[in-house]
């Protein structure tokens, strides 16, 4: 038996035993977990543990030293492992920077493959949607409905409509992501306004498809990879040299793919594209007081996928941008960098946990005088908005992209 053949033979027996060998990337993640010294620092910081207690969610240390060490199948962890929001707080405070969020994805992928019955139903629903539409949400079937919803939103936010540029016209791809494409269309439109205002040539995909983050988070590796390579194919066809996004999840997930598969295409959040490539001088001149809007006190929320999965620098840049806008005062919330509970697809099956996590943010926001919360992610925006509203608060939430677009002077 040749080496190849022997390998095939062994892997086929593993299959029967329902054991899935680690890929090279996965081995790296496993190696990261092996570095855990069982110190417990992460336990004092995990927002889910803080919100629901270790009895319900045994937390990152337990993931590192117990749950992730129960292969081959990780079935026994099914009730716990889906409660991690993937916020990365544990990884950031850990002395060894153990990559808990990624080991969680890896474990979920084993469970999905061998024991799909243990995967929360809500995740199966999202999975079906993605498989059918290549989007995380069922798209509005009627194009006219979608246009109507867009126009209503534009009117509500006082934004003009900008023509969508043709494909293959520029090296910069603006990638809105599922939320801005299907739900928060104002974010997509606002980004177009901003890019147009600064005369940035850009293009958009005619057939937007999901970046693959939800698939990755539920453990559907195959779909995540399929979506990534589909995006890559489009990037190649259009000869894209740079991707600009407005969603924190897309920024980190496409960034990860670009890194893992050596795409050599930088993935930037609009915030950093503006501060780094447009430049603060130009920006400062472009801001005006929005018509009919008073001085406004805002507070910010830092999306986990930006600060902990990409870089804390991104929120520093967001604050720099806000600082350039006249009549905007930023008040800092003590829970600005605390996970909003919207991550890890937790809200799709355990809404109570997601709500318990966001409480921390809401309480800190309520202590401030801020009238609005601003955050550079449409997903965080939606999560905070829903929960603030449900808690009876009058504080409103804006996606930073929309907030900026509303305060730009006209071109020329």
């Amino acid at each position: 038996m040749g080496e190849e053949e022997a390998y095939e033979f062994v892997t086929s027996t593993l299959e029967k035993e329902r054991i899935e060998p680690y890929t090279r990337e996965e081995s790296e993640v496993v190696h990261s977990v092996q570095q855990c010294i069982n110190c417990g620092i992460c336990l004092s910081h995990c927002p889910v543990v803080a919100a629901v207690g270790i009895y319900r969610f045994s937390g990152p240390r337990s993931i590192a030293v117990e749950l992730s060490r129960s292969p081959p199948e990780f079935w026994a962890t099914g009730d716990t492992i889906y409660l991690c929001t993937g916020c990365g707080t544990c990884m950031e405070v850990c002395p060894k920077n153990v990559n808990i969020p990624e080991i969680v994805n890896m474990m979920r992928s084993r469970i999905l493959r061998f024991r799909p019955d243990l995967v929360p139903k809500g995740l199966h629903v999202v999975r079906e949607t993605i498989l059918e539409h290549n989007l995380a949400f069922v798209p509005l079937e009627d194009v006219e409905d979608k246009t109507e919803s867009r126009d209503m939103r534009l009117e509500h936010y006082g934004l003009p409509l900008i023509e969508t540029p043709e494909e293959a016209k520029s090296e910069v791809l603006y990638y809105p992501g599922c939320q801005a494409e299907e739900r928060s269309q104002e974010v997509r439109e606002a980004a177009k306004i901003i890019l147009d205002r600064f005369e940035v040539g850009f293009t958009m995909l005619e057939d937007m498809c999901c970046c693959g983050l939800p698939s990755r988070l539920m453990g559907d590796k195959d779909t995540a990879e399929k979506l990534a390579s589909r995006l890559k194919q489009r990037i190649d066809e259009l000869d894209i040299k740079k991707i600009v996004t407005t969603c924190a999840g897309c920024t980190s997930n496409i960034g990860d793919a670009s890194f893992a598969y050596d795409w050599n295409v930088p993935v930037l959040h609009l915030v950093e594209f503006l501060t780094d490539e447009v430049g603060t001088d130009k920006l400062a001149k472009a801001f005006t007081k929005p018509r009919g809007k008073e001085k406004v006190k805002v507070t910010v929320h830092d999306p986990c996928h930006l600060i902990r999965h990409t870089s804390r620098q991104l929120m520093d840049k967001a604050l720099l941008l806000l600082d350039l806008i006249p009549d905007v005062k930023v008040e800092v919330s003590t829970a600005a960098d605390s996970c909003c509970g919207g991550g890890g697809l937790v809200a799709y099956h355990s809404k109570d946990v997601s709500k318990a996590v966001v409480k921390e943010n809401l309480e800190a926001i309520r202590l401030l005088e801020a009238q609005r919360v601003v955050t550079p992610c449409p997903l965080c925006t939606a999560q905070l908005e829903d929960n603030l509203f449900q808690s009876g608060s009058s504080i409103e939430v804006d996606d930073l992209t929309v907030f900026i677009a509303q305060r730009l002077s006209n071109k020329g």
């Binding site: 010294i37 110190c39 417990g40 620092i41 336990l43 004092s44 543990v49 803080a50 629901v52 207690g53 270790i54 009895y55 319900r56 950031e92 405070v93 850990c94 002395p95 060894k96 920077n97 980190s252 960034g255 990860d256 890194f259 950093e272 501060t275 780094d276 600060i307 902990r308 999965h309 990409t310 870089s311 804390r312 620098q313 991104l314 840049k317």
Partner: protein, 455 residues
């Protein structure tokens, strides 16, 4: 986008945050890069200055006494370095004044924080632990002050546990405490133990310290606890109540005061195993102090390398998960910790410093680039002589600049502080946070001076 700061500090534990705050106070801009939390956050939160001689078993009466002994017996101990003047050997007086200045400064900085500390160099405090044993330490958090139950004639000490909190067994602690007091022929007249119920999420098994502490940060939770403590104290006639350190992450001081008022006894927290809440409080308080001083704390950033021009570092390269930045600077402090912090790495092929590729040495100042760390451990996990691997690290000149094999500093403007330094074993000496504080304090000052030279 690249950044600029007069001083870049690598490491966000006690040493780094102190150095950063000192830099701000000197009117300089600074950035602290922190890749994770580490030993400072894991510690018991009590700041040891010096408890024992490296091979001693009887604790020093006072840190002052210890510093004098170190200065004469261990001239290259990080404390002794303060005594060097113009090439002359250590003067104990100078060491004591130097340490006193740093301790006084920290006490002032933390006085309004969650980790307010008390104590000083004139006596070591024998602090009670959750095992019922004592440990000599210099500065303890206010919530840990036990006000002399040992000497009062008519005192009753109550060890009070929490049902379902597995780190502390009040009965076992009481027992070992009694055994110890019998040997030493002192202590309170009576010792008692009991438990209370605190159920953060409605369950009373397997609860963790941080859950209880966070729970008690809320008013109503404390309200539930008060009558339970009062009842136990009244029944047993306790004058002193020893609790595990769970009185709160934010409100521990206020909570303690409220309990004392309500039950009419002295209430204090015990020292605990890592990771303990007081350690977390100390880490937070230091971070807050640094931020308030105007410094920029950059979390989630790891220093990867640094660039030198002639004899000075001019920039530090730092990476976050998906971005990297270059920070131009005039001086650098390396406060990267030891094996847990990540400043030192021990492997089969030797001991290396991870950011600047500096020379490492053993406790005896022999170059350690090629040692087998294994040879520097004792076969006994608990060995009064310690594991000599813990005294390995960087060796520095009297200005806290790391020295290279040629005996010269690696750069004119690179300083090192904290547990990355060689020549002391914090585990044996009980000197960990003290050395980090003092070396951070002076490395920060010296870095500030070096940065000012550039203008």
């Amino acid at each position: 986008m690249n950044l600029e700061a007069d001083i870049v500090i690598v490491g966000g534990g006690m040493a780094g945050l102190v150095a950063g705050t000192i830099a701000s106070e000197g009117g300089l801009s600074s950035i602290v890069l922190r890749k994770g939390e580490s030993a400072t956050s894991m510690s018991s939160g009590a700041i040891d200055v010096v408890g024992y001689l490296p091979d001693g078993t009887i604790p020093f009466e006072s840190p002052k006494e210890g510093l004098v002994a170190l200065a004469s017996l261990y001239p290259f101990h990080p404390y002794s370095i303060l005594g060097f003047g113009e090439g002359k050997p250590a003067f104990a007086e100078k060491v004591i004044t130097g340490v006193e200045a740093a301790v006084g400064w920290l006490k002032d900085k933390l006085k309004d924080s969650v980790a307010k500390i008390v104590g000083g160099l004139d006596s070591n405090i024998l602090s009670l632990s959750i095992l019922g044993t004592t440990k000599p330490t210099c500065l303890i958090q206010e919530t840990m002050v036990s006000d002399g139950f040992a000497n009062e004639f008519d005192s009753t000490l109550l060890f009070l546990g929490v049902k379902g909190y597995p780190d502390f067994f009040a009965s076992a602690a009481a027992k070992s405490f009694l055994e110890q007091s019998e040997i030493e022929q002192e202590g309170p007249r009576k010792v008692a133990h009991s438990t209370v119920r605190i159920s953060p999420f409605g369950n009373t098994c397997n609860i963790s310290a941080s859950e209880i502490a966070r729970h008690l940060d809320h008013d109503d939770a404390l309200g539930e606890l008060l009558p339970q403590i009062k009842k136990t104290v009244d029944t047993l006639g306790a004058t002193h109540v020893a609790l595990p350190p769970i009185l709160g992450i934010k409100n521990a001081r206020g909570n303690r005061q409220r309990i004392e008022e309500e039950v009419g006894a002295i209430v204090f927290e015990l020292l605990a195993f890592p990771p303990s809440i007081p350690g977390l409080r100390l880490q937070r308080a230091l971070e807050e102090t640094y931020r308030k001083s105007g410094g920029q704390l950059l979390l989630g950033h790891e220093a990867l390398s640094a660039y030198k021009e002639k004899n000075r570092y001019v920039s530090v390269q730092a990476g976050a998960p998906r971005r990297s930045i270059r920070i131009s600077t005039k001086a650098v402090v390396s406060a990267t910790g030891k094996f847990i912090g990540g400043g030192l790495r021990g492997a089969e092929d030797g001991l290396t410093e991870t950011v600047f590729n500096l020379m490492t040495v053993t406790g005896n100042l022999i170059q350690a680039d090629n040692i087998r760390p294994y040879d520097y451990t004792s076969p006994f996990a608990v060995d009064t002589g310690g594991h000599s691997i813990f005294s390995c690290g960087l060796t520095v000149d009297p200005q806290f600049r790391p020295v290279m094999p040629d005996g010269q500093p690696d750069a004119d403007n690179l300083f090192a502080a904290g547990s990355t330094l060689a020549g002391y074993d914090y585990l044996v000496e009980k000197s960990g946070l003290g050395v980090a504080l003092v070396s951070g304090f002076y490395a920060g000052k010296n870095a500030a001076d070096a940065a000012k030279e550039v203008d």
